[in-house]
Symmetry: C2
Subunit: 256 residues, 2 copies
């Protein structure tokens, strides 16, 4: 979000709903993390087990951050219907006993499958500082930005089903020793959850951005969120794909 380099649009007319949606979707086409080299390595079976462990361990921080950012949003909503609509996102991640274990529980099945200790994963002690900084930046963004812009930051979900499909197929094919259908449950579930949520949030943003500056800020929020995701993969790539770069205190795989 380099404000200096953006065209000045303060006096520009509002985008039509169609152009606004296209601008949001263009962000994904340009910079969603399915374009990141670390993802190509992950899905293409080019990582060793320690590197997949590092990915799952760090990505846990993001998974666990999502219900916190959703709660941060709810804490700002005076509209009860909107709070009620948004609440199911917390259920999707943290679970809703007795039926729904939640996405984080499914993520732990993945880290279990990879042989990682649950307490260690949940402690976030082995996660890269850059991962934690990126995740907390997301929580703070949602807590602090104007509401429509905060909601817009969730719209990377528009781009998620494709990456999840690629991931399910690629990881099942390439890591048969520790990835199976049960372990991939998280991503399968997100195939149905994410589109429902994304449609709601997209409609909210399209209808509520009140002027061109706010429309631009919503597009920038999607860029910001892509940066949050991209930065996590940059950090993983640097620390675990290039040899010798694991920072002090971070997880050290046995085979790296």
């Amino acid at each position: 979000m380099n404000e200096m380099s953006k065209p000045k649009t303060d006096n520009a007319p509002m985008m039509s709903v169609e152009d606004f949606e296209a601008a949001i979707r263009a962000v994904g086409a340009e910079r969603y993390h399915d374009k990141h080299p670390f993802h190509h390595l992950l899905h293409g079976g080019k990582l060793n087990k320690g590197q997949v462990q590092a990915w799952a361990l760090n990505r846990y921080c993001y998974q666990a951050g999502v219900p916190r950012k959703d709660a941060a949003l709810i804490s700002r909503l005076h509209d009860r219907e909107l709070r009620r609509e948004w609440l199911h996102r917390i259920h999707d991640h943290d679970g809703l006993p007795p039926e729904e274990p939640g996405g984080i529980e499914r993520w732990m099945i993945l880290t279990d499958g990879l042989g990682l200790d649950r307490d260690y994963v949940c402690s976030r002690e082995g996660a890269l500082p850059a991962t934690k900084f990126a995740v907390e930046a997301y929580v703070h963004f949602v807590r602090e930005q104007p509401l429509t812009i905060a909601i817009a930051s969730s719209l990377t979900e528009l781009f998620a089903p494709k990456i999840h499909k690629e991931r399910i197929a690629g990881m099942l094919e390439n890591y048969p020793d520790y990835i199976d259908d049960k372990v991939m449950a998280y991503f399968k579930r997100r195939l149905t959850q994410a589109p429902r949520d994304a449609t709601f949030a997209l409609n909210y943003v399209l209808q509520n951005a009140a002027n061109r500056a706010e429309q631009d800020a919503c597009v920038a929020a999607v860029e910001f969120k892509c940066n949050v995701l991209w930065a996590q993969l940059d950090a993983l790539f640097h620390a675990y794909y290039e040899p010798g770069n694991v920072p002090p205190g971070a997880f050290k795989p046995e085979d790296v």
Copy 2:
């Protein structure tokens, strides 16, 4: 929370769990809002319908603030089990379809019974500024204070069952024209919800306050919360019991 007037306890030893709990409970005995003259007027049948309307309309802001402060707390919790435990408080207030309509919905049955328009109530436009300031102070306190202290601010629930019982009996007896069992549903439900929540939060605070300064801050948090409740009744008393004091823009009952 006048820090200047407090005894200096930085070097004091930690309170025993029993003394700490007693100090928390002493706050309720001294300054919970069941001691406020407006409550005696309300429960004693000394208010006219317009004054009861003003109370219900203003208290709506508090009811609607509670799930937001609970979401603010959840947004700060890295412990998933604690998030899951705290989440049912949001369900209690905002509801959990299809079974649970939630406490705010029950509150609207009360404001319906009093002949208030739902949209007007939910808009909070007619509420006293002092009410809204007090409620938002609570949300911000929970968002910003250290976790144990934020949780301690919920402990006025320890004192709530008594006031709810008095309120149910007093209002049913004294306002038969617009208060009936159905309208009192909110308070009846809270008779079972509040003790369960209060017990959990009390145990959390007793176990997690790490030193004397934090114990003192937890006691002060209960005082703060009592102030949040008391200030709302002060504002109601001034605006609606004393004649001629309704501030500009606030709800004007027909019979005041």
